[in-house]
Subunit: 247 residues, 2 copies
């Protein structure tokens, strides 16, 4: 909930565009044009904020509108692309609804990378990555991010662990007990990841294989049984507050 | 995600009942009977876990089933009513969807009391308290709570501040900057509350009146603009991890 500058106003539409931005004319078509013209009722002279996940965020002004597209005049760069805290979220795909919510919240809370991980008890083996990406883009437009979270290809747990980078702490909610989450995250600075299992939890062999990873750090998220998406959001927030950019 | 005992099995249905529990026969009717009979296919001899928000959690066994109701034999108390961390969540009511999600997550994360607060920019002035209570009961059944969060009557912000208990820290996301959330919560132990404004934020006069409260502590939830329900869940998790029962 950061402070917002007087100009452009808080209500200014904010859109992600998939090609690098630069000063000059930019044509907007398709759903984004529909959004600006029909939902936001954009008129010539109206401000629009654009970001491209590469050069940062830019101020643009509506130059001309047509029935199905409009032209923006990109003028001034408002901010460079942000530095993103180096936190990954590795999660067993959930069913539609919870997984969309998780992607939205992970983006808002500041995750750098999302990695869908298939485990033995995972119910959804092939998450719809396109929908997750669209959800994260919407969340980024809303929360002011100038960098999109990276969305990795779905991977099986054994492969994730086999190729795990030694220098990246892997925090996982250990049902058999772990360090208090805040303490564990404060005392393991540097690159990190949070691994969240499916609703049914990891099976014994999976838990052992995670524990066997030198980078693995079992954490305790309290006495209540958290839904997978709740555990993910809680762990992301605790990491951001203790080791990320909320300090 | 606490460890679960071998008996009753993890899959055992868990239900809140609105009258105090004691050993002996207990008749179950209505939606809960439908859930046990039609959804869980309960048969005589099957275990059921019951809690009453008063005496704790009990183990029961299905004694007899009929078409629309069943009789349980309440046998052994599995746990006393839990001590609940003394954290309130005061929040500007949100529209259906986000507010239900917020009630569910606040229960899972361990809030003791929810207080709907109407502010100048609040869009929903009369939240459906019955629906919120039902949502919290479902969340309590799922997350293993033996104590339900209390749901207060909706109050206007000036009344909330006027009657504020002096010994209860009031953490609020201050858009003009505050202490890092984890540090603020760690260094203000004791009874606490989190105050989350509407999507539009508090207006200047409201923010001044909150700041003027001696118990108020402005917190910083990072550089991204969080949705109200995201800010609430993040603040609840950070408090639980730093000052609650996740330590």
């Amino acid at each position: 909930m950061g402070a917002t500058p007087a100009w452009p106003p808080r209500s200014t539409p904010r859109l992600f565009v998939d090609e690098p931005l630069a000063p000059g004319a930019r044509r907007i078509e398709g759903p984004q044009a529909h959004y600006l013209l029909s939902v936001m009722r954009a008129k010539p002279g109206d401000p629009v904020r654009l970001f491209d996940d590469a050069t940062g965020e830019w101020l643009a002004t509506v130059a001309a509108t047509a029935k199905r597209d409009l032209t923006l005049d990109v003028t001034e760069r408002l901010a460079p692309r942000e530095p993103v805290p180096d936190l990954w979220l590795c999660f067993a795909p959930l069913k539609k609804g919870p997984i969309d919510w998780l992607a939205e919240k992970a983006c808002e809370l500041g995750a750098a990378r999302l990695v869908p991980v298939v485990t033995r008890r995972t119910v959804v083996e092939t998450p719809k990555l396109d929908r997750l990406r669209a959800t994260m883009i919407e969340a980024a437009e809303q929360c002011g991010r100038t960098a999109l979270p990276e969305l990795a290809e779905t991977v099986k747990l054994p492969a994730l662990l086999r190729d795990w980078p030694a220098d990246r702490a892997l925090f996982f909610a250990d049902e058999l007990g772990g360090l208090p989450a805040a303490e564990a995250m404060r005392t393991h600075p540097g690159p990190a990841a949070i691994l969240i299992g499916p609703e049914g939890g990891f099976d014994d062999a999976e838990r052992e294989s995670i524990r066997a990873l030198p980078a693995a750090v079992g954490i305790d998220l309290g006495p209540r049984i958290l839904r997978a998406e709740t555990a993910a959001a809680a762990a992301l927030a605790i990491w951001m507050a203790g080791a990320g950019d909320w300090r």
